[in-house]
Amino acid sequence: MSAVTVRNLEHHYQSKKNRDRPQVDNVSFDVNSGEMFVLLGPSGCGKTTILRCIAGLIRPSSGEIAIDGKTVAGPTKFVPTYRRDIGLVFQDYAVWPHMTVFENVAFPLRHGSAKKLRRNEIRDQVMASLEMVKLEKYATRDATALSGGQQQRVALARALVREPAVLLLDEPLSNLDAALREQMRHELRQIQQRIRITTLFVTHDQSEALSMATRIGLMRDGVLEEVTTPRDLYQAPKSQHAASAAGAAVFYEGTVEAVEDDGMQRSARVGTPVGRLQARTLGPVQVGQTVTVAVRPEDIEVHPAPPTDRPNVLAAKITSVLFLGPSVDVRLEVAGHTMRSTRPAKGWTQVEDDSAYVELPVDRVHILPA
């Protein structure tokens, strides 16, 4: 059963300028019980707006939302935030500065529960929640006497302590520095896996989405374009936007010259400005059709000498090499066009102005509808 159901959600902010174009446009999706659903999209595409609609902080212009099977927003119904079974973590933590860590986490139990809990029940649940985020030693601290990462953990513990039907996270890691973000990503994922809490996570960070999500909802300009798994989004993107949302990619326009279908797999030969390329395709394509071909830099191989008996090998010249530590970022010129490749730094020897051969493995070249 799905824990959150969103149907035909639409929202206009009440402002004269953007009357005609809703900030959230007819969005429908389900979040299944126990999964980590990520809404991914560029800044300003309406992710936060959807999240706030689900939390009840905004009343949507139209559409329906249900949490745990109970309608919370609809044409004639609107349940205020405090009566929704949710936990919410904000980008800016929103830890109450006038309370201790313990009081912050105890708040939902003291003031948010329908049933009165006894003191020791509250203490046990709060401490369990704090242990989960590894803050049990800080219970009596003032909430302001914590680092950013610790405050974020307090916010998480506070959102989890009521054991809500759904946990809503709005870019919870974006205020943390890179190293801490990495670590929190793991912890958040672990906690979510352990207690199997249904989670809706909003972010514009592709690696965050790919690494944490069970499923990803890809958003653009207020529209939910597709819902896929991280693996499919990365390995078999359905559109140019989807391909770039899951990481850097190079794109070439081309014309289909031939189509082969061996019954198992379908592949096509595409004439592109850099040369003729063999590619796998998921959807139907016709000879003469204009398509876009996408390849990820980490999939493009670079050889000093031409490999024999392999398709999609093109002559190239190295124009620049950037050393990034574990890898090198190589720019090449192929038939007057720039191509980019990321290779392991170990064993890399070539330098600028060397000539080279690039290989685009057939099953890594994606054909997208132009």
Partner: protein
């Protein structure tokens, strides 16, 4: 069990009922609370403000001769206006009002900018002490200040004038226009200083450094960067103070009346409290209209400046402080000038007040006077039930006004800050509008309303509380709006997301976080109310006299000692409250 239909297939038709378009009817539910609150607050404010203004306008068109406006013999007329505009007196009153207000403003501006510059931007010694010296004057009520200066500088037995005569200098007559300007100017300086120094302190030092790094010399930097950046704040402070100067009757009554100098505020007051004859409410209201117009222009300009000056916002919280100018050998002379300023403007009035309260009759300062020292005045004051009542009323009115004003201010500010609806623009204007209505007019109009509409409020302390709340709401929201804006909305939303209903969010999150703001706001309003003679004098009846009116009455009857004994007590009350204010929030003014 879900009440929702399954996801519609991409090509198929959605099985969901088409949702209604956004409209008025569907705005019920969660936001209803917020909107009801906005409506309620708007209505209360509208009642508080539109009532007096409407009454003033209406009664200025009433021939009231011997009765109240709308009384049995009253009728509609434009007679009041033709009387007022054809009277040559009107124009001399207007002239004196402008000269008085502008003169005081210039004096206060010069003093406060000088002091603020020394304290905030130079290395003058003991800056904290100097800050306190300049600011402490806020604790002395204008009324008391006026009387003290009269005792210092009247031509009959003024203490300082006695000194001037002793060394062969000409005397200065305080009961004159220059005298009134002097007293009002230095009375306004502390508040002006707070406004100006806050602006200077908030300026980001990197702005000046950037000019210097671009090759501008210090004077060019000052002319092209510092002054333009500070100008909006300074102009706003000046306009705010202009209204303060024209609205109050305290200094003009005490220093102007004996010298036959009348300004608009005293004119309004005298028409309803004539020395002989009966009150003429119609003519008084017409003078009130003139005052309203005089206040409205600058204040509308002020409102525009305030909203525009956000463009100049140089407040960044962590703003890095500008470097201080090294005064070198002028450090100590500058310090001495400031100390002298403190002695003249604060210590001298305070000392003469204490001195006069211990003299059986005031005759300036003399060594014989020391032997006449007596506490009789205090004894008789404390024995008098009138005083006990007045003290009690002052405290009750002060506390009630402060609490009601803060409650209303908090609710209005919350609606203004937290919602972006169309009503908030109106609300924004309504909380600011009381600035437009000088105290003397609020007093007059409210007297009229409750004389004409007999609901039993006239002569009670409630009518004073009502008038004071009306007058103080603008100050209240000036404190609470930035206070609430500082509290990020997500702190409230986190409360709602934790399952806490709105009242719990207010009680457990908002109010505790706002505690310093509420404490300071309450104190500031209490001080302003306790010091306010103008409203009290307009609304006073035997049953609701306050300390300020008692002080004025004793002074008016020539009982200097009792008047000054009460002044010492009132000053002790307000100065104590003022010193409880905490640094940061004082800047909200």
């Amino acid at each position: 069990m879900t009440t929702l239909t399954p996801v519609a297939p991409p090509t198929g038709e959605a099985h969901v009922r088409p949702a209604p378009r956004p409209g008025v009817g569907r705005r019920i539910g969660a936001f209803a609370q917020r909107q009801w609150l906005a409506l309620l607050v708007t209505l209360i404010l509208f009642y508080l403000i539109a009532g007096p203004v409407g009454m003033l306008v209406a009664s200025s068109f009433q021939q009231t001769g011997l009765s109240l406006p709308f009384g049995p013999t009253a009728r509609w007329t434009t007679q009041n206006y033709s009387d007022v505009f054809t009277s040559s007196k009107t124009w001399s009153v207007m002239g004196d009002t402008l000269a008085y207000a502008l003169g005081a403003l210039v004096l206060a501006t010069v003093c406060s900018i000088g002091a603020a510059w020394l304290i905030e931007r130079t290395n003058v010694p003991a800056r904290r002490l100097l800050y306190v010296i300049v600011v402490t004057g806020i604790g002395i009520p204008g009324l008391v200040y006026g009387i003290s200066w009269n005792l210092l500088l009247n031509t009959n037995n003024g203490v300082i004038n006695q000194g001037f005569s002793a060394v062969g200098l000409p005397q200065f007559n305080i009961q004159s226009l220059p005298g009134m300007i002097l007293v009002e100017g230095i009375r306004m300086t502390p508040l002006m200083f707070l406004l100006v120094s806050a602006a200077i302190r908030q300026m980001d030092g990197t702005m000046e450094d950037a000019a210097a790094a671009s090759g501008a010399r210090p004077l060019t930097t000052m002319r092209k960067v510092t002054i333009p950046l500070l100008l909006p704040a300074m102009a706003a402070a000046a306009i705010y103070q202009f209204v303060t100067a024209i609205e109050a009757v305290d200094v003009p009554l005490i220093l102007g009346l004996p010298g036959h100098i009348t300004v608009l505020s005293t004119q309004v007051y005298l028409e309803v409290h004539p020395a002989i004859g009966v009150a003429d409410y119609g003519v008084s209201s017409t003078y009130g209209m003139l005052l309203l117009v005089l206040a409205a222009g600058p204040l509308l300009a002020y409102q525009r400046l305030i909203s525009k000056s956000s463009r100049f916002a140089t407040v960044t919280g962590k703003a890095y402080r500008p470097r201080r100018i090294q005064l070198r050998r002028w450090r100590w002379p500058a310090f001495l000038v400031m100390v002298c300023y403190g002695i003249v403007t604060f210590a001298a009035p305070l000392l003469v007040m204490i001195w006069a309260s211990t003299q059986p009759y005031f005759s300036g300062f003399s060594w014989e006077g020391v032997h006449r020292f007596t506490l009789d005045a205090y004894r008789s004051v404390f024995d008098s039930p009138n005083f006990t009542n007045a003290l009690w009323h002052t405290l009750v009115i002060g506390v009630l006004t402060a609490l009601f004003t803060m409650l209303l201010s908090l609710l209005s500010s919350w609606v203004i800050v937290r919602s972006r609806s169309r009503t908030t623009a109106l609300l924004d204007f309504l909380v600011f509008a009381p600035h437009l209505i000088p105290s003397v007019i609020v007093g007059l109009a409210i007297v009229l309303i409750y004389l004409v509409v007999p609901v039993g409020l006239y002569g009670t302390i409630w009518i004073v509380v009502l008038a004071m709340v009306t007058r103080q709401i603008a100050l209240g929201t000036r404190i609470t709006t930035p206070g609430i804006a500082q509290i990020h909305a997500s702190l409230e939303e986190a409360g709602a997301a934790s399952g806490a209903p709105p009242w719990v969010v207010w009680w457990k999150i908002l109010l505790p976080l706002l505690r310093p703001v509420i404490a300071n706001g309450t104190l500031m309003i209490f001080v302003a109310v306790a010091q306010n003679l103008t409203l009290a004098l307009m609304l006073v009846a035997p049953g609701n006299s306050v300390l300020a009116t008692e002080i004025y009455n004793f002074w008016d009857q020539g009982d200097v000692a009792s008047s000054m004994a009460m002044s010492v007590i009132l000053t002790a009350v307000t100065a104590t409250a003022a010193t409880l204010l905490r640094g940061g929030e004082r800047d909200a003014l």
